[in-house]
Symmetry: C2
Subunit: 271 residues, 2 copies
């Protein structure tokens, strides 16, 4: 992941810290979506397994899912770091999948099959607390995705998963991928709110310093099943490797820390 | 309204005609909002009446409402025709209200009162068929406002009126007001659909030639109570003046013509 670090080091993190709980009202909540609102690991892994089974072939679906998801993040970080021309996320996903299949799948895959497999990004399952939690949060504030998914990706996913967004913000509003500052700042500007009244919700702790750096409130959602539950254990055994990409336990001074949107709604109600 | 005609003549209408019913699928419906989805006349007129009553003054609330609504349309057309810098609609509304009050209200009004009166754009009532109709249409296609209201205006209105949009498109997506081509074309592009699979829904017939000109399907919704029911009667009496701004009876070859969103859903289902 050293390429990742190089890309990220090129993107400025602001100077602010997360506001403390109760310091400001929460007028809007904006959500990382892939992994935070929906589980990508389960649906993708099951799709790869089914694909191989139907063709009578074998593959390591876990490796393929993690490789595809990592390539997605790397592509977005690279676009953000280089401020290169905005390209549709669907094309990025499709191109990355082709590389993943070439590297990890034992047989040739047709363009039509690649197109079909890519649509799994429209059919990610919400976490068990997601839909009820979003409805509760919507009773308290404006709710919107600030995802690297483009407008149509977020519409398709919301219709599949029943996500009651007030508005779709994020990459398409900004013409730029996270964690480029525009992705946050143009989304906040669309709401005509000061950043300290907007709370960024994410299960990837690496995202929150950017949100805090722009003065936003931050909510870190623990999702231990991110990456299929094989990420960093809370008490790692010495010498045993684990995947650290998702940073799934809280290490920062975030405004809210919880493991469910339902509890987040309750914490905000009480603050 | 000669100024209006001058502005509109500067904005190109495309060459296409509305596709015929059943010629293409309807994958998305995009809606003019002020007047088509929500009634502006009733809430504004009642607000002006209440304002004057509470201050023990008198005003012609009908004239003020029509003047404010007309000034809004003129401002948007002017920005569209001149491609001038995009300015927040809330500021435009506020500035136009100040002029309306100066011209039509018998007493001075404070800046705070002007700010408060301007918020009526967030509290427009849906027409009786709107909410049920939108839910039915959402079962068949993506639904979104393509309004001159900005993102936050549309969020506020949707939350007040219970409008179940999938995504908010229109002026903010385009950085341009209707009927500038960008307002339609960038909204369609956000959905990644061909224009002939997107249907523009409007109660203002003047809007539909632009939508048709870009190849979109068109649905004309008759709203006889637009402008408080004092617009062009179906059989006007010779010599008797009427307000023609809303063009509330069908005169064009639109894909769908109806007087309710519920019936529109049924017509689309059958086509």
């Amino acid at each position: 992941m050293s390429g990742l670090k190089d890309f990220l080091s090129a993107i400025p993190i602001g100077e602010s810290r997360s506001p403390r709980r109760g310091e400001h009202r929460v007028r809007a909540l904006v959500f990382d979506t892939y992994g935070t609102v929906c589980d990508f690991y389960g649906p993708m892994t099951r799709q790869f397994e089914r694909f191989a089974r139907e063709r009578g072939e074998e593959c390591d679906a876990h490796v393929m899912t993690v490789a595809w998801r990592t390539a997605y993040a790397m592509s977005c970080f690279q676009q953000a770091a280089t401020e290169s021309e905005f390209s549709p996320l669907r094309q990025i996903q499709r191109a990355n999948l082709e590389k993943v299949m070439n590297e990890h799948y034992p047989a040739p895959v047709s363009p039509e099959e690649l197109n079909q497999l890519t649509t799994v990004w429209d059919r990610l399952d919400p976490w068990p607390d997601t839909v009820e939690g979003l409805h509760r949060l919507k009773g308290q504030a404006i709710i919107a995705p600030v995802s690297n998914g483009n407008y149509i990706d977020m519409v398709n996913l919301a219709r599949y998963a029943g996500l009651p967004w007030d508005i779709i913000l994020g990459s398409s509003v900004a013409g730029m991928y996270k964690p480029h500052p525009d992705a946050y700042l143009k989304s906040i500007a669309a709401l005509n709110l000061p950043p300290e009244e907007v709370c960024m919700v994410a299960a990837h702790q690496a995202e929150l310093p950017y949100a805090a750096g722009h003065g936003m409130q931050t909510a870190f959602i623990m999702r231990p099943d991110e990456f299929g539950g094989i990420t960093k254990p809370r008490d790692p055994e010495p010498g045993k490797p684990y995947l650290d990409a998702a940073e799934i336990y809280p290490e920062g001074d975030w405004t809210y820390i919880t493991d469910s949107f339902i509890d987040l709604a309750e914490q905000i109600r009480q603050s």
